[in-house]
Subunit: 159 residues, 3 copies
């Protein structure tokens, strides 16, 4: 047991802007010395995908999911004003101009600050995602592990 | 007053996948002996609708809402990749293949585990939903009752 | 330090219905004597925009965002059944019929109850929103201030 404050985030959304919000809060909390966990489930798993194509054996449905879902943080769309993919470019241009940190770097920063990144094994199974397809240095767990972290959490968010 | 840990979820969303996430967390927390409440408001009320047509008297707008909103958990769409209704079938096929529990059964399981299912009376009113149209063994309450549960909650999520 | 219960809401969404839910919970919590903060970030900032056009100097991208985003609470769309802008009118008609309080009045009520309304300066910067364009009597802060409130919060939600 530790006296550190705890922040847990369930990242369910596969939207670039929502994932940014999740990682900005997580990095902020880590900077304030919280123990931070981001539990990636459903579409939130896309933020953890490697951007190259990893050859793994998959069934038909799993292949379809793999094709249709964005491969990695940089390819995710917006929750709002996505404009068939034009919105993310606008946001990224504007972020560049304002020296805001893009999502892939926010994820790296989180790893450097020891934010615990967890991939939900149940939804990995459902969506047919394999460990080889996800970035390194993350953990794999289910809802029980999430709840064990969250029940002592000071800030628990579902994004 | 009880020493049990408490989990509360506001289910605002009417998406099949988000409702699944809500009920998986709720069932997990109940299995870990938390006192769990799911407060269904706005589109989240659709998860509690009976799947048959219940003849109740309604005004014009209420009839329109009733027609346009999904009748019950099994008819809800996805938050992502809905593809005009094709997405939910894909997800359900994939869930079947992986022996994942479909939403209507997750709701039954929650009731068996004494998860408190609450329908928000204010939004029932707005959307013209009557008690006869919702499944049995649920409670009816407003935001005050939600807050009374949540202020002692260990895990409070808005989904 | 105070013994008051604390509620914090991150309002990320720019949807009328989600903002309504946020403000109904916030007003409820304030009525139960919680200290309440709504931290408006990303699209949630639109709820704080004045409805008139405020002439401020902006770059090209910022002008585009300003044009495309709803100007104020009353102009926001729905998360669901928006029907190209028809949905909000339906909801507002139905709200009027049931004497439900429209979003702009919920915001006023929150201010009267001393709910702390905060605009996220980082996303204001990104979206090119200036203080003159937002309603009066709000605060300006970043993620650190949010976390300081949330870590002592009893109810912390992300909407």
């Amino acid at each position: 047991m530790t006296d550190k404050k705890k922040t847990t985030i369930v990242l369910f959304s596969g939207d670039y802007d929502k994932a940014m919000a999740a990682y900005i809060i997580a990095n902020g909390a880590a900077a304030y010395d919280h123990e931070v966990t981001i539990f990636h489930t459903f579409w939130g798993l896309n933020a953890l995908r490697k951007d190259e194509n990893i050859p793994v054996e998959k069934g038909f449905m799993e292949k379809m999911f793999a094709k249709m879902m964005p491969r990695g943080a940089d390819k995710m769309g917006l929750s709002n004003m996505n404009f068939a993919g034009f919105g993310p470019k606008m946001i990224k241009d504007v972020m560049k101009k304002h020296n805001a940190i893009p999502l892939p770097q926010l994820i790296e920063m989180a790893q450097e600050q020891d934010v615990k990144l967890v991939a939900c094994t149940m939804t990995m199974d459902l969506l047919g995602l394999k460990q080889e397809e996800l970035i390194d240095n993350i953990e794999y767990a289910g809802v029980a592990a999430y709840l064990a972290d969250a029940e002592d959490g000071n800030v628990n968010l579902f994004i």
